[in-house]
């Protein structure tokens, strides 16, 4: 009987456990986790924070499901991996043997290091425990400052605003999420935030978090080069995430920004696999190893890793990374390459507000599409497309999502748009109508493929 150990109980870990069980009904599956809440929809925390969803709702699987799958949970962090001996040393002192190991430890919020970060009222949004902590504090928080960028920063901004907190959002540069959104899109988001009463401070750097009796009382910042002291009871940070790869580093696995894995999700050590936010996965299209911090790739990677751990031969093919999220109340779909393609030291450059990759983010988005763009917007609805030769390689669909599924299919299937190219790129092209008409024809021809 094989003994499988999985470190981490998030999306990738659970997907792997399910995939192992599907192939190996007898094997012993141990899931080691330091998270007392074990498994829940991490993206769902945003809606718990905003009050749209009660906490109990984000637990995806009932306990009986875990029992039926015969998953054994070990509530402990792991201190070290000995890859030669195939053993783990747990934080509670125990040693465990494994036949095959998956590292699915995810990522943790990167925190800046100004003075005052130890104060109560300094928060992040990694886990259910963080979410509960914020909600507890929010009851006696009149004003909060949010620092950072990307999706998580907005989840904090919107969640706190929904709880009646006066929110001040600090941006280091002159617009929101400049690495992925273009200026029109950033402005749409900012305008909507302002409409909801959020005060955005541009060109603002946090200098220090001030406190009394161990609690946050204000932040000290520089706004347009001038000092700003803002009394507040909470300082929330979302400046990016760091893959949790200390164990892998210690064990001598090959790492860069994450744990390097091949197309079977194998690390450089025998019988050790990695998946999810912690894994830096080969992308055949760009020829680079890239990080994603996305729910669906985490699950796909977990499934492939689990199948391979149980003796399968499953290749994980990195697809066009794709995320749908809500930015200031607008559903926004981001697919493929949409960024400006600036790189610094060989890695995709982010914007000034974030230290690296964020949650709900993909490094691939920041790569330049090396393609021509077509765009249109009406009100808060926005469509931005990138064509390379005759195929679409990236898109942002903000607001009305009618076209987002068609575009998703056209990109993922790399459909030849040769007949449309000239029209799409002409001045004042009605992109929505052109794509809508094309899609109707495509659907008829390819009904089976779409379903």
């Amino acid at each position: 009987m094989s003994l499988y150990a999985i470190i981490g109980s998030g999306a990738a870990g659970l997907a792997a456990a399910n995939a192992i069980r599907a192939r190996d009904p007898a094997g012993q599956i141990l899931i080691l986790t330091a998270d007392p809440h074990v498994h829940y929809s991490r993206p769902g925390l945003a809606y718990v924070l905003s009050g749209e969803l009660p906490e109990k709702q984000v637990y995806q699987f009932p306990r009986e499901f875990f029992a039926r799958q015969r998953f054994e949970f070990v509530q402990s962090g792991v201190q070290a991996i000995q890859t030669d001996a195939h053993t783990l040393r747990l934080e509670d002192g125990r040693a465990l043997r494994y036949d095959r190991l998956l590292i699915a430890t995810g990522a943790t919020a990167a925190m800046p290091e100004p003075p005052g970060m130890q104060l109560e009222g300094v928060v992040k949004l990694d886990s259910m425990a963080d979410c509960q902590h914020i909600l507890n504090l929010a009851r006696r928080t009149r004003r909060a400052v949010v620092v950072g960028g990307g999706i998580t920063a907005l989840e904090l901004v919107e969640g706190l605003a929904a709880r009646g907190v006066e929110v001040h959002y600090f941006l280091r540069g002159d617009r929101y999420w400049s690495a992925v959104l273009d200026e029109v899109e950033s402005r749409i988001v900012e305008r909507r935030l302002a409409h909801d009463g959020v005060e955005i401070h541009y060109h603002t750097n946090l200098v220090e978090v001030l406190g009394q009796k161990g609690r946050v009382t204000a932040v000290q910042a520089e706004e347009n080069g001038r000092p700003l002291t803002l009394p507040c009871q909470m300082a929330a940070f979302a400046i990016g995430i760091q893959p949790r790869m200390e164990l892998a580093v210690q064990a001598g696995l090959k790492v860069q920004r994450g744990i390097i894995v091949d197309d079977h999700l194998r690390t450089s050590a025998p019988d050790v696999f990695a998946a999810g936010d912690v894994a830096q996965v080969f992308d055949a299209q760009s020829g680079q190893y890239l990080l994603d911090s996305l729910w669906t790739p985490a699950i796909q990677q977990g499934r492939a890793a689990g199948a391979n751990m149980a003796g399968g031969d499953v290749i994980y093919e990195k697809k066009f990374p794709f995320n749908v999220t809500r930015l200031a109340g607008l559903v926004t779909t981001i697919i493929g390459r949409v960024g400006k393609g600036e790189t610094a030291g060989g890695r995709p450059k982010g914007d000034a507000d974030v230290a690296g990759i964020m949650r709900g983010d993909s490094e691939l988005w920041r790569l330049s599409p090396e393609a021509v763009a077509a765009q249109t917007y009406a009100g808060d609805n926005r469509l931005r497309l990138y064509l390379k030769d005759n195929v679409m390689v990236g898109a942002v669909v903000m607001g009305d999502q009618t076209l987002s599924r068609p575009i998703q299919v056209l990109i993922q299937e790399q459909v030849d748009l040769g007949e449309l190219r000239a029209a799409l790129l002409s001045d004042n092209a009605d992109l929505a109508r052109l794509l809508g008409d094309f899609w109707e024809g495509y659907q008829v021809k390819h009904a089976a493929k779409i379903a």
């Binding site: 929809s41 995806q60 669906t296 794709f322 559903v331 009406a378 607001g399 009618t402």
Partner: protein
Amino acid sequence: MNFRSIFSKTAQKHERLASQAVVPDPQRCVQCGICSYNCPLGIDVRLHALQGLAVVESKCLTCGECVKRCPRGVLRFDAAPLEQITLKAAK
């Protein structure tokens, strides 16, 4: 201009409510559970989304609460896949 106007006219919408089912796109789903939470009949829409199954239960009123509330555009009204309907008839 409104993108939605391309596809949906009121008549089409009524037609859809009468003849179509809630169909998920599992790739978009993050299993947050807002859909199940808002279903007035307590249908576990999230589980359907996980398994990639259309909501063809006769209980579903096609009221659209789940479609409207999903923050990620996972759910849409569409024709349920034929094999799922036949499967149900065979039960």
